[in-house]
């Protein structure tokens, strides 16, 4: 049967198993929105900004592991997706972004609402396509989903000119995708696995350092078995949160700039770092030449370009973590003798405990602990970027993967709220919180409209301190408390929520925190809670940028 390009696109999305598309209409994508009129193949969510659509697709992908899809028009619609695409790229999130484009005959002519979006997104997509022939469309969509979701996942953009959307052809669903130059390596090299096992058995001070790859590859069970077999401490990156149960006795929590002091000291003193799906980001390693001087490094990653990029790797294994850990468990029937090391790590935990000094005002850390308590640690926590993000990482006991949704690599303020919308649609049975600051919530606050219109029940906990807090903290510590443009005003969040048809709650006393959270959860609507917290509370522990990660300031010790 002959179908138009727009119909073929929708049919392809449905056949790829797409449940929801986030987007915004416009001139050059009109034919596709016409095809969407009354379409029942999947849900369409109209956001209030294209950036919201991209982040929502990202949040959906993070909680489900499926490909998130967003749709926008040409020109400004497409450029508004850019931050969201870059964000997904940095955190290896599977996403397909579809943009309208001016008709092929007008491309390059500075037509109205024209932007070279494939050119713009080339460095921030895993791959992108400009469709120039309707006969290629189905194949391209199939390839886009395959590329986005396999290997090291990432965003793929399809730019679809208007004339291709209206052109007609026979629809043939390609049975399979074959790309001669793209075949991700799943299994680790058997020789390398054997050598890794030997290295592990010789280690006296091993540490497992895990990243987002554990979650992406669904390797949390294998990781738990490996960790228990080795008995060694486990630390994780921001992206690795939820990959290993925080309450487990081998847990050291997050490492790096705002990691636990004992995690940082442990990795610095270790003699073997077993890096699993992590990439030795500068927020983790601090000053590179001083990082873990005595440690040999085993690095498992699906992306060869992540290996030896920052830290020299002694034993690289390229492969999918779930498969590689399975192979490694075959080789390792027991762990090395490391009793002295474990005792030392326990001592470090006692010497440098995590904590904060109580104050009269509401402390942001306390709010996070209360969210943990009232949701029994079962909520999905999305965050914006800044101090609140670090507190949400530090003070909630994450027990399962895909429960902490945060912009790790790009550090995008305004990510959390739209991501929470995507997360709620992906996991409707879960309580979804966006932990926000008063600064970042204002970056995509318009998505309150999306929530209310579509009855998407998310809770926003604003840790309102009247500052762009993380920048203010750096100004306090490193710029002589010169608070240059970091005090920030906010609207009356309660009234704002109400004007959108959501519920707003103002919390000014510590005793009101828990009841407010309970009321928010019991409310069948989007709820914005404005917690007026201690204004100049800092995120500690902290490693100043460019310092060795055992050079730690703040904290209780």
């Amino acid at each position: 049967m002959k179908m138009t390009g727009s119909q073929i696109l929708l049919e392809c999305l449905k056949l790829e198993g797409v449940e929801v598309v986030f987007g915004y209409p416009g001139g050059q994508i009109l034919p596709t929105f016409d095809a969407l009129y009354g379409y029942k193949g999947f849900k369409f969510i109209l956001t209030r900004h294209e950036q919201g659509a991209a982040h929502a697709a990202d949040g959906y992908a993070r909680v489900t592991g499926k490909v998130g899809v967003c749709l926008a028009t040409s020109g400004p619609g497409a450029t508004n997706l850019v931050t969201g695409i870059a964000n997904a790229y940095m955190d290896s999130i599977p996403m397909v972004a579809i943009t309208g484009q001016v008709p092929t005959a007008l491309i390059g002519n500075d037509a109205f609402q024209e932007a070279d979006i494939t050119g713009i997104t080339r460095p921030i997509t895993k791959h992108n396509y400009l469709v120039k022939d309707i006969k290629d469309l189905a194949q391209i969509v199939r390839e886009a989903f395959y590329i986005a979701s396999t290997g090291r996942p990432g965003p793929v953009l399809i730019d679809l000119p208007k004339d291709i959307q209206v052109a007609e052809t026979e629809f043939i669903w390609p049975a399979e995708v074959k790309l001669r130059s793209y075949n991700p390596n799943l299994f680790g090299h058997p020789g390398q696995i054997k050598r890794a096992a030997k290295l592990i058995m010789k280690a006296k001070k091993p540490i497992l350092y895990i990243g987002g790859g554990v979650i992406t590859s669904g390797a949390t069970k294998e990781l738990l078995v490996l960790a228990q077999r080795l008995k060694c401490p486990v630390t994780w990156t921001l992206m690795g949160i939820g990959g290993f149960p925080a309450a487990h006795k081998q847990s050291l929590g997050m490492l790096g700039m705002h990691g636990t002091a004992y995690a940082n000291h442990s990795i610095m003193e270790s003699d073997l770092i077993i890096a699993l799906g992590a990439r030795f980001d500068d927020r983790v390693t601090g000053r590179l030449d001083l990082f873990a001087p005595e440690a040999q490094v085993i690095h498992v990653d699906i992306d060869p370009s992540s290996i030896s990029k920052n830290v020299h790797v002694d034993l690289p294994i390229v492969g999918d973590l779930k498969q590689v850990l399975g192979q490694l468990l075959q080789e390792l029937k027991c762990g090395p003798m490391i009793e002295d090391w474990l005792k030392h790590v326990e001592d470090l935990k006692k010497k440098y405990p995590m904590g904060f000094k109580d104050k009269d005002k509401i402390l942001p850390q306390y709010v996070i602990q209360q969210i943990d308590a009232v949701t029994k640690g079962e909520a999905i926590i999305c965050t914006e970027v800044g101090q609140h993000q670090m507190w949400a990482a530090q003070w909630f006991n994450y027990s399962s993967p895909r429960s902490f949704i945060s912009s790790g690599g790009l550090g995008t303020m305004g990510f959390g709220f739209p991501a929470a919308i995507g997360a709620k649609l992906g996991k409707p049975e879960k309580i979804v919180f966006d932990v926000a600051g008063d600064g970042s919530i204002q970056m995509n606050i318009q998505e309150l409209g999306t929530c209310v219109a579509n009855k998407i029940n998310v809770k926003v906990a604003i840790l309102n301190n009247g500052y762009l807090g993380m920048v203010r903290q750096w100004q306090e510590l490193f710029y002589g408390s010169r608070y240059s443009h970091t005090p920030i005003s906010s609207p009356d969040f309660v009234k704002l929520a109400e004007s959108y048809g959501a519920v707003g709650i103002l919390v000014t006393k510590k005793s009101e925190v828990k009841p407010a959270l309970e009321r928010a959860i019991a409310t069948d609507n989007t709820v914005l809670i404005d917690f007026r917290v201690e204004e100049e509370e800092n995120v500690f522990p902290m490693v100043p940028a460019g310092e060795a990660i055992n050079n730690i300031i703040g904290g209780l010790a």
């Binding site: 080339r122 460095p123 001669r180 030896s308």
Partner: protein, 156 residues
């Protein structure tokens, strides 16, 4: 140090921009670049010469090249046995009385005169880097008006 890298790619629009982007994003200038179809018209062959300020960055570029969906293989010829050649077209100041002098120079190289004008000559020559350099040294005595180089091609 100079690296000669060959990249086998899908012959599609945009591929050159993807490849070049990996160099430019890291502030690397491409010294020379030659691209053309191979026996299989669906595949193109690129030979890229780049000065690596930092070998680690170049290693990263090579890995990133391999990651591009449209890239089939990447070979760094620098530490491998290979042949490389470059075609140069040189327009020099030339008067008929210098004919013997020019011919004796060209005899030493794979080169010939492809055009004479009243006071200029165009010379075509092929060679590896050292040969081209030596030829240009000799021709500079005449005065070089224009120099065009194809960029290096490399084969194993």
């Amino acid at each position: 140090m100079k690296h000669t890298i060959s990249v086998l790619v899908e012959n599609k629009f945009g591929v050159l921009a993807r490849v070049a982007g990996l160099f430019s994003a890291r502030g690397y200038n491409i010294a020379s670049l030659a691209v053309s179809e191979t026996l299989d018209p669906k595949v193109s062959y690129m030979t890229i010469v780049v000065e690596a300020k930092d070998e680690k960055i170049l290693e990263q570029i090579n890995k990133q090249l391999n990651k591009l969906i449209d890239v089939i293989t990447v070979t760094d010829f620098t530490k491998k046995d290979h042949f490389d050649r470059e075609l140069v077209l040189v327009k020099i100041n030339y008067l008929a009385k210098n004919k013997t002098k020019l011919q004796s120079i060209l005899k030493k190289f794979v080169g010939k005169v492809i055009d004479f004008k009243k006071d200029t000559a165009i010379i075509e020559a092929v060679g590896d880097e050292a040969q081209v350099k030596a030829l240009l040294g000799e021709l500079s005595k005449f005065g070089v008006r224009e120099l065009l180089r194809s960029g290096k091609l490399a084969i194993q």
